[in-house]
């Protein structure tokens, strides 16, 4: 899969996973990897970007004598998931059909 497309989809996967409950970096990777293989270095800029856009918030919690950073999806993040499922996905399907050459909805 194209890396830029993959990065975009991972963002929604992260948001979707966080929708189930707050989580931390390693757990996010473990959970998402069966769907989209993701490395530690790929996740960091994605989390950072989501945080910058206020789609996730982070906080530290003590775990086994150390601090672990947890991520929490915000209302903006939830809106983003809805927007992806309802609008972006339709666009993607149109693009898919266009690429396949079976769609007439796209004019020159």
């Amino acid at each position: 899969m194209d890396s830029q497309l993959k990065k975009g989809l991972i963002e929604y996967c992260v948001l979707a996973y966080l929708q189930r409950g707050d989580s931390y970096g390693y757990q996010i990777i473990k959970n998402i990897s069966p769907v989209i293989p993701i490395t530690e270095s790929t996740l960091y800029p994605i989390l950072k970007r989501l945080e910058t856009r206020s789609q996730v918030e982070s906080y530290s919690r003590e775990h086994n004598g150390r601090l672990r950073k947890y991520y929490h999806v915000t209302s903006l993040g939830l809106e983003s998931i809805q927007s992806f499922l309802e609008e972006d996905w339709k666009k993607l399907e149109e693009i898919h059909d266009y690429i396949k050459g079976g769609n007439s909805g796209w004019s020159e």
Partner: protein
């Protein structure tokens, strides 16, 4: 590689390509990742190995595709020719600059040198004066005691000067070391150009 070595190597790589404020967050992120991997059953070395090469990680984590332009490579022949032809001009300027720089060092170090000369001289004069005052005491006690007092005064001044020189010398040594290190980094640091873009 152990966790500490990995973090050190990563910090070193990040220092060249990330903003200082990001480095701390990235280090925390990877440190947490290693500890979580270890909690998940990985050995320390296996956890570090799973993360990969710190240099590659630093680039990926910053989202920074890096374009390194080694200035030493692929130098145009015309540039080489110009450098050779222009050597009498730029060579003498570089030499002059270097000599000015060295003379600055020399002038700075003259201050503790003068302190050392004064300190040494005063101390020597003090000791000699005190010793010879003993001979003078046999002729005139007043003169002898006066000379002994003056000798002690000079000796005290000498000790003060030497203490001052010692303190100042330490400070100048520190400044010299810092300036030299700075110049070394400025001249021999690997030049690279980093291009950032929004992924």
């Amino acid at each position: 590689m152990e966790r500490v070595d990995f973090i050190k190597a990563l910090a070193d790589e990040l220092s060249q390509m990330a903003r200082a404020s990001d480095i701390h967050q990235l280090i925390d992120y990877y440190d947490e990742m290693i500890l979580d991997l270890m909690e998940d059953g990985y050995s320390e070395r296996a956890a570090v190995a799973k993360l990969g090469d710190p240099r590659k990680l630093a680039r990926e984590a910053c989202g920074v595709p890096e374009i390194e332009r080694a200035f030493s490579k692929h130098v145009h022949p015309l540039v080489v020719l110009l450098l050779i032809v222009g050597f009498p001009l730029w060579g003498s300027l570089v030499l002059a600059g270097g000599l000015v720089f060295l003379s600055c060092y020399f002038i700075i170090w003259l201050i503790p040198l003068i302190g050392l000369i004064f300190g040494g001289t005063f101390s020597l004069v003090g000791v000699v004066s005190a010793i010879f005052s003993l001979f003078l005491m046999t002729d005139s006690l007043f003169m002898g005691v006066t000379q002994f007092g003056i000798g002690m005064l000079f000796f005290g001044l000498g000790i003060l000067c030497l203490t001052f020189t010692y303190t100042l010398g330490g400070f100048f040594a520190q400044v010299t070391k810092s300036v030299t290190l700075w110049c070394k980094q400025l001249l021999f640091k690997k030049r690279k150009q980093v291009v950032r873009y929004e992924a």
